[in-house]
């Protein structure tokens, strides 16, 4: 089934997820829905030493929960994520796989001592959601600085790139 399911991983602002549905659906040209009944509790992925949540464990949990044929899944959370060797990640995706997770934690202005900016934060979250889902469709990082698949490891870099795929990435995606 060709669809995308957004799974809330608590805590997370539900309104932010709702705002993603239409633009994500436009970007991938497939139906997008939100898992309304069955939120994921990330407590099991918590690392008390690092005070962060292990994103790889979260992906594994999502895969356990949803069978392979249920389309792409993206878990979204407000908690800070990490993979063991890195200090943090914005998100993580299975390259050419089924699942991705994404955090809003480092996309927020107040983390950097700035005034909250909901509009900017929504655009950042959208870009990163498109980006991580792009990975699940097999896209790797793109050299085009405007392309949403351009690698970004800081909020500024997310702002610099666009929210659309470049011609090359678009072609790859539609070719599938």
């Amino acid at each position: 089934m060709r669809s995308i399911l957004i799974v809330p991983i608590r805590p997370v602002d539900h309104a932010e997820l709702t705002a993603l549905v239409t633009p994500l659906s436009n970007a991938f040209e497939i139906p997008v829905s939100i898992e309304e009944s069955n939120y994921l509790d990330p407590a099991f992925a918590f690392d008390s030493y690092r005070n962060q949540f292990n994103s790889t464990s979260l992906i594994t949990a999502l895969l356990d929960r949803y069978p392979a044929q249920s389309g792409k899944i993206i878990g979204i959370t407000a908690v800070d994520l990490f993979v063991p060797v890195l200090t943090y990640v914005f998100g993580e995706a299975q390259l050419d796989g089924q699942a991705a997770v994404l955090s809003t934690f480092r996309l927020r202005e107040d983390l950097y001592g700035l005034e909250p900016n909901p509009k900017l934060e929504h655009i950042r979250l959208l870009k990163e959601a498109v980006h991580e889902l792009g990975h699940t469709y097999g896209l790797i990082h793109c050299h085009d600085p405007e392309c949403v698949m351009h690698s970004s490891t800081s909020a500024e870099e997310v702002d610099v790139k666009g929210k659309n795929f470049c011609g090359g990435c678009e072609k790859f995606l539609r070719g599938l």
């Binding site: 690092r50 790889t56 990490f82 993979v83 063991p84 060797v85 890195l86 200090t87 943090y88 990640v89 995706a93 390259l95 990975h135 896209l139 790797i140 990082h141 793109c142 050299h143 085009d144 690698s151 490891t153 800081s154 470049c166 011609g167 090359g168 990435c169 072609k171 790859f172």
Partner: protein
Amino acid sequence: MTEKKSSPQSILIVDDELIVRESLTKWFRQDGYRVEAAEDANHALKMMKEGPWDLALLDIKMPGMSGLELQKRLKEVDKNIGIIMITAFASVESAVQALKEGAFDYVTKPIDPDHLSHIVSNALNQKKIVEENIQLREQISDIGKATEIVGDSQQIHKVIELAKTVAKTDTTVMLRGESGTGKELIARAIHANSDRRYFPIIAVNCGAVTESLLESELFGHEKGAFTGAQYRRKGKFELADGGTIFLDEIGNISQKMQVQLLRVIETKQFTRVGGSDVISSDFRVICATNRDLEAAVKDGSFREDLYYRLNVFTVSIPPLRERRSDIPLLAEYFRGKYAAIMHKAVTEINANAMDILVQYDWPGNVRELENVLERAMVLAVPPAIQSSELPFQLASKAHGLQADSLAVVERAQVEMILNRTGWNISRSADILDIDRVTLYNKITKYGLKRP
């Protein structure tokens, strides 16, 4: 994905922790790199066959061989490989050591992803620039690649031929030749063309140290084996495991060392000084000497059994004065080398200076020639090296001739005519309009030799 490159840059990750290998592999694959991971140094060395790798990320602390040691070995296999060390906070000091030994940079675990992606792209960019420069230089100089074995004479072709032939076997090799002829270069070339090339070549100068020091150099020692042995230390035979040991100046070792050497070459087993554990090592022996070993065997100062063990396949490297036609090539090669190192636009050696270089007898051989060229490059004013920038004894020792003297011209004329007539003395004397005795005298005076 038209804008993505057809052959991706490659990264080798070496870390004993599975989780680190997995997450870094994944991280870099998403960046579009070709990525493989190895769990320890030995696997990493084996994976060099699947290279070349643009970049290696090495955990500095691993059981067995450390990242620091592995760095050295990887650089021996591929001197252009970029290295980034991964370290815990506790070992930042050794990371600094790694930088001194040529690592591009280091990252501390856990790694800041922003930092990591920038370091990696910087390292790859730098490598690309270096490689482009090397390619450029190779195109310009059109002389040999990584090796400094330069020459086009029959003699040097013979040496290279022999080296190539014996490289493919596991035979013990003895290199004969005066000092400075480049025996170590030939040893390295043999190793680099052998199946052992992914393992180290360990060079030991047997003539440079005392007997007791050489013993612990070769076999290692246990902690407290002698005064000053504060740590256990591996010996060269142990370090050469899987690779080649190059024993230079083998003719200079003591009788006691000769016995020990014979034993370890025959059994491939030994114990460390002050230890009792028997250690096995799989090594190939290449040795070198400038001594008349046959005479030493005759007078009893070199054991005959060891001589036969070592003298299985001999490669003789001719002194530079016996292959004068290589001197211009070598001189040009070293000029180019130092021009690049010194960033100096000295593009030629003028004819006068080259004459002097070709005529000199070079008792110190290629090494002396290199030293002279290095010195001349320091003094040289672009665009050319002049004879005045050569050590004065060179000009005068080149058969006692002043560079601009009539004698130089005479020598060149005599030599040219001799060569033209195929060293027919009568015909040469006729052409030069001198008698044969005078011609013989001039041949002796100028040190001319039939090629």
